[in-house]
């Protein structure tokens, strides 16, 4: 599991204690970092993590050989690893649950909205990124159209990724910042306005514009502050969930049937490829960032806890700044980089927002492996004050969105209705579990999307076509199995 190991209580050799937390943190933070990021950055960060940790391990004996027998160091280092793994797995269950809850919440929100507000299931046109319609005469034509749609969408994503890498390479930070801010503005204000309007329409609630303006304004401003700056953790998590849900709803509404399923499938394949192939643009991005040893942009990351630095008085502000990068509650004055704490997910499907969306999705993600690298570089004494229980796991918001899209589509368009929705829900959760497990076992970068989406898709189609008639018949005769 991608847990941060707790601060080891074992202090076998006095001289080595300082290095323990360092080692552990580098191991575990990297494992934590890589695990659930939006696939893209996973392998790069992981790989680097391994390199780093190995470097450290090699460093340890070197630095500590004065008077210290070598085998002791080796043994300690090995024990280090074992304990590392143990603690990693021990905290695994808790952190998995910490991820289950927001994913479940997001899905619940999406499903509830789909079921009640009919706006999101009406076909009001398509995004310009999916220009081919699916209302054609023949099945073959429809299939062709949806394949073309999906291809266009995926190529847009790839282009945006490359664009972002290029921008990052040439240090056009301002542009990226601007993108992030604009997209989060749009999401928070415009989309929630539409959403609120539709909800009111559904429940026939009379509302005047002034009240609405006030509500939306407050919601938006608080959201911007929470996400981009400081704010209580719960509130930030809530905002992230809301934004993922909004985004997923937009996808569900504006993507036609077959295109949506195809896109889901292709996205997970793309994730898999991007993680396992060494030539991805994202990998280049992360490596560049690591070379420059900078903190990347705030990620589209959902963070389940925050990291507190208890005694921050004596350490240098630089170290603390970087250490608190993970925390959503910066006690120190945040570095200017960390101000772009933008866990924004994608934007809708309208023209320029797509670009921003891709940016948001991909760009900020780069930040985290970097921040990991930065955190590892910290002196160990600043880490030792971290409360192990407070460390959490992070999951990319893009993952949230696609999970919710899957479940939402299942509830919107399935003949099996709630059965299908439930089946997809369980499938996705199990996929998430498995992904975390695999990550803990292999300690390699693994994308969070493919396994869950595959399970979800399989279960959706299977439940819809196979289980549904069976259950219908059973319920009709009132048989029970």
């Amino acid at each position: 599991m991608t847990e941060l190991s707790a601060h080891l209580p074992q202090f076998q050799h006095g001289q080595l204690t300082e290095n323990f937390p360092d080692n552990h943190l580098s191991n575990t933070q990297e494992s934590m970092a890589s695990a659930l990021f939006n696939t893209d950055q996973n392998d790069t960060s992981e790989r680097r993590r391994h390199e780093n940790s190995e470097r450290r391990r090699n460093d340890n004996p070197d630095s500590e050989t004065n008077g210290q027998p070598q085998n002791n160091i080796q043994q300690v280092v090995e024990q280090d690893e074992e304990e590392d793994e143990e603690l990693t797995l021990k905290y695994g269950a808790k952190h998995v649950i910490m991820l289950f809850v927001p994913v479940t919440l997001c899905m619940v929100v999406v499903v509830a909205t789909i079921k009640s507000v009919s706006f999101y299931t009406r076909k009001d046109g398509q995004l310009i990124y999916t220009p081919f319609t699916e209302e054609t005469e023949t099945v073959g034509q429809r299939a062709l159209n949806s394949i073309l749609n999906a291809a266009i969408m995926i190529s847009v994503i790839i282009v945006m990724t490359i664009l972002l890498v290029v921008l990052y390479k040439y240090r056009c930070y301002k542009v990226i910042h601007g993108w992030l801010i604009i997209s989060s503005l749009l999401l928070l204000f415009f989309f929630s306005f539409i959403y609120l309007g539709e909800v009111f329409k559904t429940y026939n609630v009379a509302m005047d514009y002034i009240t609405v303006a006030l509500i939306i304004w407050n919601f938006g401003v608080v959201g911007m502050i929470c996400i981009h700056w400081k704010g209580p953790l719960r509130l930030q998590q809530a905002y992230l969930i809301m934004i993922s849900a909004l985004m997923a709803l937009v996808f569900i509404k504006y993507l036609p049937e077959w295109t949506a399923w195809l896109i889901l499938a292709v996205i997970s394949v793309y994730d898999l490829v991007a993680v396992l192939c060494p030539k991805g643009p994202l990998r280049m991005l992360v490596e560049t960032a690591q070379e420059r040893n900078e903190t990347l942009f705030p990620a589209l990351i959902y963070s389940s806890t925050m990291i507190w630095l208890v005694n921050m008085a004596e350490e240098d502000p630089e170290a603390q700044r970087k250490a608190s990068k993970n925390s959503t509650y910066d006690k120190q004055a945040p570095a200017n980089q960390t101000q772009n704490e933008d866990p924004e997910a994608d934007d809708g499907g309208f023209s320029q927002e797509w670009q921003q969306q891709r940016d948001n999705r991909i760009g900020p993600i780069e930040s985290t492996p970097e921040s990991r690298a930065a955190v590892q570089a910290l002196p160990s004494n600043s880490q030792s004050s971290e409360d192990p229980e407070e460390r959490g796991v992070k999951l990319g918001l893009g993952d949230f969105i696609f999970y919710s899209v899957l479940v939402g589509k299942a509830s919107a368009t399935a003949s099996g209705d709630w059965n299908t929705t439930l089946a997809c829900f369980v499938a996705i959760l199990i996929g998430l579990c498995l992904t975390l497990l695999l990550l803990a076992i292999f300690k390699k970068a693994l994308p969070a999307l493919p396994i869950s989406i595959t399970f979800g898709l399989v279960f959706y189609f299977a439940t819809d076509n196979l289980v549904q008639p069976f259950m219908d018949q059973l319920a009709f005769h009132q048989f029970y199995i």
């Binding site: 797995l89 649950i97 439930l422 009132q478 029970y480 199995i481």
Partner: protein, 231 residues
């Protein structure tokens, strides 16, 4: 009641939640496979023959029951492996969760999933307008469905405990008893809508299973008495 069980006993510990969801998943897979078989059978047969369809349905039900038990067994195997892993990784050498707890949680997982699948469409329809039993069917449809589902969820929970206990101690007759009970309960539902034929035996069987599971888990009549008298 199942939800209450969940809230009070499972929701606290994350490991149990994972086991629960995994249990639900296994049940789901078994359902999938059995409906696949049924589907194939139906497609290969004449859709207009009522008796044949009913017969096929019964066959599907029996097959599904057997598959469920098979998957329960598979789940047991998986949990055994997991428990060894957990023991190896824990600090003090003993597993954070015992096999009995796992059995209980697995049973609840199975039960919840089966109950959910049985009831949820019904509930959704119940929210809408309509009259129960307008075509001459029983008016108690919803009520009996609810009771049946509840008894089934409980039964799954108890069967989980019994089953795992049987596997642990290699008592094949226990496992066989669980399978037979399951078949009996499902079979009793075949005489619906003659509800007295299905609900009463099911509840009886549930009571038996409950007592059995309780005794297996180390309880005794003394405990019950002490509990009731709040000593």
């Amino acid at each position: 009641p199942a939800l209450g069980l969940f809230l009070f006993t499972i929701a606290r510990e994350p490991l149990r939640i994972i086991i629960l969801i995994a249990g639900a998943f296994f049940w789901l897979v078994s359902l999938l496979l059995s409906s696949l078989i049924w589907f194939i059978a139906v497609k290969a047969s004449d859709p207009r023959d009522e008796a044949l369809q009913r017969g096929l349905l019964i066959f599907g039900v029996i097959f599904s029951v057997l598959l469920q038990e098979v998957f329960r067994f598979l789940y047991y195997k998986l949990l055994r492996k997991a428990i060894e892993g957990l023991v190896a990784l824990s600090e003090d050498g003993c597993s954070p969760i015992s096999i009995q707890q796992m059995a209980y949680v697995a049973g609840v997982g199975f039960g919840l999933m089966s109950g959910a699948f049985s009831m949820i469409n019904l509930l959704a329809d119940a929210l809408g307008p309509g009259t129960v039993g307008i075509h001459g069917d029983s008016q108690l449809y919803f009520l009996t469905s609810a009771f049946m589902t509840m008894v089934l969820i409980f039964l799954h929970t108890f069967w989980g405990i019994l089953f795992f206990h049987g596997c642990e101690h290699r008592r094949w007759w226990e496992i066989a008893a669980v399978v037979v009970m399951h078949l009996a309960v499902s079979g009793s539902t075949f005489c619906n809508p003659l509800y007295v034929g299905s609900l009463v035996p099911s509840y009886l069987l549930m009571a038996i299973a409950a007592v059995w599971a309780y005794l297996l888990s180390g309880g005794s009549a003394q405990n019950v008495r002490r509990f009731l008298l709040c000593k």
